[in-house]
């Protein structure tokens, strides 16, 4: 049990670091905006033609711009600590309500991507690991090396060219029915699968070469029974543990792939907010992505504890 609490405490510390890091960076972002920030925000709100000094001063008063840097910084972090993220400078909506919608869309995409990756990668890798250096193992290695050299947005581009422009099977971008989710999810899943398939292959090869595996076969169990009974669970721990490492890839991929496919998720919103200099939205979306990262990592840790009882002690 103490193992569990120390794990959760560590992740809680990480969440705090995420909040502080995002808060500090977005504060620096407000400071580094070229020109008078009040004018820029006013332009974002009312359109460039309608900005005059009154509008800029109103914005300046409303957002308490122009104090001492340290005071502003503490004020900024104080707002963050009270979870007061403010309102979007572009749409005027509360940041929380916007982020909540976007986070839902991103989670849909991420879950489909991880499921697809788990369906593609580990089964192929385990089959390859059972027959080391067979043709499937070689093909698997080649495919993994090639796929890993393509970032997820390039895989997405190639998928768009092949399946929506070329064959016309799926819509190229947007968000609507289930057909819209296929290509962005596949773009993310292929990159994830390329790595997890090799992890599964190495884990399976290790299990297949182990004494307990040989013993199970010697005592007369059928190969499929040995796999389900002795192979899968032992080979599964590294695959799940490695999912934690791959989460970085998933979160980074979400930012770019969502922008490519115009998927209305949190990564798309972050990029839009950065382009529009909508600082409260930048902070909200970056914070949500960082916390999502921590939450998913915690989930992976807990799953590892669940699968592998040896980890629960010590």
């Amino acid at each position: 049990m103490s193992r569990l609490t120390s794990l959760l405490l560590g992740r809680l510390l990480q969440a705090g670091l995420v909040a502080w890091g995002v808060g500090t960076l977005t504060f620096l972002l407000t400071r580094a905006l070229p020109g008078d920030m009040a004018y820029r925000i006013a332009a974002g709100r009312y359109g460039y033609e309608n900005v005059d000094r009154d509008a800029a001063e109103a914005v300046s008063r409303e957002l308490a711009l122009g104090g001492s840097p340290l005071g502003d910084y503490l004020h900024w972090l104080g707002d963050l600590a009270r979870l007061d993220l403010g309102h979007s400078l572009v749409s005027g909506e509360a940041v929380w309500s916007e982020v909540r919608h976007q986070l839902g869309h991103s989670l849909d995409l991420a879950i489909v991507a991880v499921l697809l990756a788990l369906l593609i990668g580990p089964p192929l890798g385990m089959l390859a690991g059972l027959r080391r250096d067979g043709w499937l193992d070689r093909a698997n290695l080649l495919g993994a090396v090639l796929l890993r050299s393509l970032p997820s947005f390039v895989i997405g581009l190639l998928l768009i060219m092949a399946f929506s422009v070329g064959l016309g099977w799926f819509p190229a971008a947007g968000h609507g029915g289930a057909s819209h989710a296929w290509l962005p999810a596949l773009a993310l899943a292929l990159g994830l699968a390329a790595v997890s398939t090799r992890v599964a292959r190495n884990a399976m090869a290790g299990v297949a070469g182990s004494p307990f595996h040989a013993f199970a076969l010697t005592k007369g169990l059928s190969p499929s029974r040995v796999f389900w009974r002795h192979g899968l669970r032992n080979a599964g721990v590294p695959v799940v543990a490695y999912l934690g490492v791959q989460l970085v890839y998933l979160i980074e991929g979400v930012v770019v792939v969502e922008s490519l496919f115009a998927w209305p998720g949190i990564g798309h919103a972050l990029v839009h907010a950065l382009v529009a200099r909508d600082v409260p939205m930048v902070q909200g979306t970056a914070l949500a992505m960082g916390l999502l990262f921590v939450a998913l990592n915690t989930l992976v840790d807990l799953t590892c504890l669940l699968i592998d009882p040896r980890r629960r002690q010590a």
Partner: protein, 273 residues
């Protein structure tokens, strides 16, 4: 001089095959990119609006883009940019990463804990998010992009070097050397460096691949470098609308990005951790 020259081929052959392929691929791309401006007068910025989206020809071996700019010159400029930035960020991440890693692993105690906390701060966020936020602070500037990438990369060196140094510092051979009165310079050169060098070179190759990918990803979402610059991700965004008319053009930055990253990964010679 002669000794190092005669050493080269044998060291070259001792590398595993995949690493040799990776090195060859990268050298070929770099040679084309750096030698091209010496051989031809093609300008990556000169537009020729009467000759847009031209098919590959003798004068323009890779065709022209939607503004009639020479694709060959632009690809070469993009390779120089990506590899140059990657090299500079890897080098400037490796130096503090290795030094601080040795320091933390050697001293232990509060130094170790304080530096570990700094590293945890950086690792708390996914790397690209950090680069994205830093790049947004100064849009279109090289230094912001470079700073972000180097800041993300140094942690890898730090963690690996710290772990290796910590286990080595307690090893009998190193204690024997210390008892014999050898100074820190000798210990570093003789005991630590040989153990650290393979890991550092692998990390450097992966770091270069990640830097190239990060630059392209940021260009692709229009946060990184700004349009007149020839950059792989930017070119993909710019050329996507012309896919129907000239499919060979958008495939060029895709192929080059793929080859650069593949070269780095093969050069690393090991599957990433």
């Amino acid at each position: 001089m002669i000794a190092t020259l005669s050493l080269l081929p044998s060291r070259w052959l001792s590398l595993p095959r995949a690493r040799r392929w990776g090195a060859g691929l990268l050298l070929a791309l770099l040679a084309v990119a750096w030698l091209l401006p010496l051989v031809t007068a093609l300008d990556p910025a000169r537009q020729d609006l009467m000759n847009t989206l031209a098919a590959p020809s003798l004068a323009e071996p890779l065709g022209t883009d939607h503004l009639g700019r020479s694709q060959l010159a632009r690809m070469a400029a993009a390779i120089r940019l990506s590899t140059g930035m990657a090299l500079v960020s890897v080098l400037s991440a490796a130096l503090p990463g290795v030094l601080l890693g040795v320091l933390a692993g050697w001293r232990g105690g509060w130094t170790d804990r304080a530096l570990g906390l700094v590293a945890d701060c950086v690792l708390a966020l996914p790397g690209l998010l950090l680069v994205l936020l830093l790049a947004a602070i100064a849009p279109g500037q090289f230094w912001a992009l470079y700073l972000g990438i180097a800041l993300v990369l140094w942690v890898e060196y730090f963690r690996v070097v710290r772990a290796t140094t910590r286990s080595l510092a307690a090893s009998p051979q190193l204690q024997a050397s210390r008892l014999l009165g050898f100074g820190p310079g000798y210990l570093l050169r003789r005991h630590l460096w040989p153990a650290l060098a393979p890991a550092i070179s692998t990390l450097a190759a992966f770091g270069a691949a990640n830097a190239i990918l990060a630059i392209a990803a940021l260009g692709f979402v229009s946060i990184g470098l700004k349009p007149p610059t020839a950059e792989l991700g930017l070119m993909m965004t710019d050329l996507l609308p012309y896919y129907r008319e000239a499919p060979w053009i958008i495939l060029q930055p895709i192929a080059v990005l793929f080859l650069l990253v593949l070269g780095c990964q093969l050069l690393a010679g090991r599957e990433p951790q």
